[in-house]
Symmetry: C2
Subunit: 164 residues, 2 copies
């Protein structure tokens, strides 16, 4: 009998992918972030543009503010009451590689026949920007097979009985 | 009165980020993918290791197979009935940069004080692997401000009235 994959020796309980997706893991959360990254920062603009139900948008924005991914910034249009718009925090800005990685995959597999609606362009040279994997020594990593998953400093043994 | 952010001129309806997250946008979907990328491929192993409710796991696996991200592969242990395990398709393997980008962010902001439970290592040189952004001319892109979002070939005008 095989002992099963090595990953089963370690707990998934403190996995940071799981924790991240507990915050980000719904369609609408990343749609909200897409809007804010694209400069659409006001509640009604986000709602109209994304067609998110009002209550869902309100909940998602509250979660993102609570998680310090967005912050509220007051503004006031002439003749209107004071409102606020939503800006990315540093923690929010750091989600940009995730957004681009998601867009790259979606563009490859889910775009309309005419192509994707949006492209990312390097401001300095005008070339398209994509998400890639690179190691700390600067080697480009093209395939998952080139990567070994190793046990990290925070790994906890997986305690559930092997008999399952 | 300002005319609002330029992104509002274009429809979000065919946005590939939104389409991608409609498939991937729940915690459990990416947790399932994490397991399979880590070599945990069998229903009971995934369920035990991730603590995903049985019915949820069954639904997520069916969705991922239907979307051609995973495929079923038969196997039979001695004295047991034939079963199947789950393997990544090419479309599934192409989600690896998204997984690493998510893990990078989660490791930075959500890890235990002791550090993340898992690390990605370049097989050839042993250095840690991370997600980065690069343009087609090979320039590294470090900040969202270095990127311009431009209208892509599949952009559709945003038709909702500006008065909202």
């Amino acid at each position: 009998m095989s002992t099963g994959p090595p990953a089963l020796a370690w707990s998934a309980e403190n996995c940071t992918v799981g924790r991240t997706m507990a915050i980000l893991g719904e369609r609408w959360t990343f749609v909200v972030l897409r809007e804010v990254f694209n400069g659409v920062r006001r509640f009604d603009d986000i709602r109209r543009h994304s067609n998110i139900p009002r209550q869902v948008l309100s909940n998602r924005l509250a979660l993102l503010v609570e998680q310090d991914i967005l912050r509220r910034q007051p503004y006031q249009d002439p003749g209107e009451r004071a409102r606020h718009e939503y800006r990315l925090t540093e923690k929010g800005f750091d989600l940009y590689p995730v957004l681009v990685a998601i867009a790259d995959w979606g563009d490859r597999y889910l775009a309309d026949p005419g192509g994707p609606p949006v492209e990312f362009e390097h401001r300095d040279c005008g070339s398209p920007v994509h998400s890639i994997l690179e190691c700390a020594k600067g080697h480009r990593v093209d395939r998952p097979r080139d990567v070994v998953t190793r046990v990290g400093p925070g790994a906890r043994p997986f305690a559930v009985s092997a008999a399952g």
